[in-house]
Amino acid sequence: MNGRNTENLKELFERFLDSKEAEQAAEDIRKGERIVREHPAPEPGREVIANIKVRVAKAVLRRRANTIRRMVYKAAVAAAVVLIAGVGVRLWLSEKGGVKTGKIIYASVIPSAIWGSEDTASYDADLAVLNTEIEQVESEIGGVQSVETNGNGRGELTELEMELTEINSDFWKG
């Protein structure tokens, strides 16, 4: 280390002052530093030093643990990179046809004939018929209810049941 004891103060000051002023400035510094030297600062207590050494030892242990943790993380990252690279290479080879991978079989829950049908006109006609029949049944139910309140609705009810049975069979025939 190029310490203060080896430097030439006068030469340093001569870069900024004339020779006489530089000599005076160097002397001011020497005298000022002598005063500081003659008035030493107190020393740290033994207990303080002992405590610092304990703290330092703990910090060293912590640093070691961090180093090991970092090494483990690095190894884990390296392993992950190798694994991902391996999977990538395998996929790439399978795309090239080099490696056969298992086929995935999948199926729709709803038959494709239903989803694929474009005969909407016939479905619309069937729906129109069905709606008309439902309306008819509703009006007849209304009639039955009014008859019931009058105390004579047996024949109407039988007729209604027959119609419902007929609608049911027609609907399922298509």
Partner: protein, 176 residues
């Protein structure tokens, strides 16, 4: 102070995480670093705290030491710790209170006792501006050259020389 090659081996040991080597560093430099902190703060308890913080930070940062001049590096870390401390407003208030108390007590003490002499220097240092006080103490305790101090503080060597010269001249006048 230990021989340069011994110090080199100690630092090498520290870099390898050897707690005994750190312990030796504490033995070598605790006195000087403590003096530096004490002269800047005038508070023994605070200097104890800053000294502890310095050596713990040394453990964390020793890997970043690549230069030849360990003492320059060590006092740069010490200076950073002191300036971090100054930036903390609450602690800064405590420092000012401590210095005021010390100033008051120093004035009351008998001027002929040796204890008074130490306090008198501290009192006079308290009259210098913080920047000048720091550069004077840095030079005294780190034993760095003006060139190294200027480099460390990122200022022209003429500025460093002027600060130290002006500060020490004033200190001499005030000490009588």
């Amino acid at each position: 102070m230990s021989d340069a090659s011994d110090l080199g081996n100690i630092i090498k040991g520290c870099k390898n995480g050897n707690a005994d080597c750190f312990s030796q560093l504490v033995d070598i430099y605790a006195g000087r670093c403590y003096g530096y902190f004490y002269r800047l703060t005038g508070d023994r308890g605070l200097s104890d705290d800053l000294l502890g913080e310095l050596f713990v930070r040394l453990v964390e940062k020793i890997g970043s030491f690549k230069g030849d001049y360990f003492e320059s590096w060590l006092f740069k870390v010490a200076s950073n710790i002191f300036n971090d401390y100054l930036r903390n407003k609450q602690r800064q208030k405590r420092l000012l209170d401590g210095q005021r108390k010390q100033l008051e007590s120093a004035e009351q003490e008998d001027k002929n006792s040796s204890g008074e002499q130490i306090d008198k220097l501290q009192m006079v240092l308290g009259r210098l501006d913080a920047n000048t006080r720091e550069v004077i103490m840095l030079r005294f305790y780190s034993e760095m050259s003006f060139k190294e101090i200027a480099k460390m503080r990122s200022e022209p060597i003429g500025t460093t020389l002027a600060k130290v010269h002006r500060g020490l001249k004033k200190l001499r006048e005030l000490m009588g």
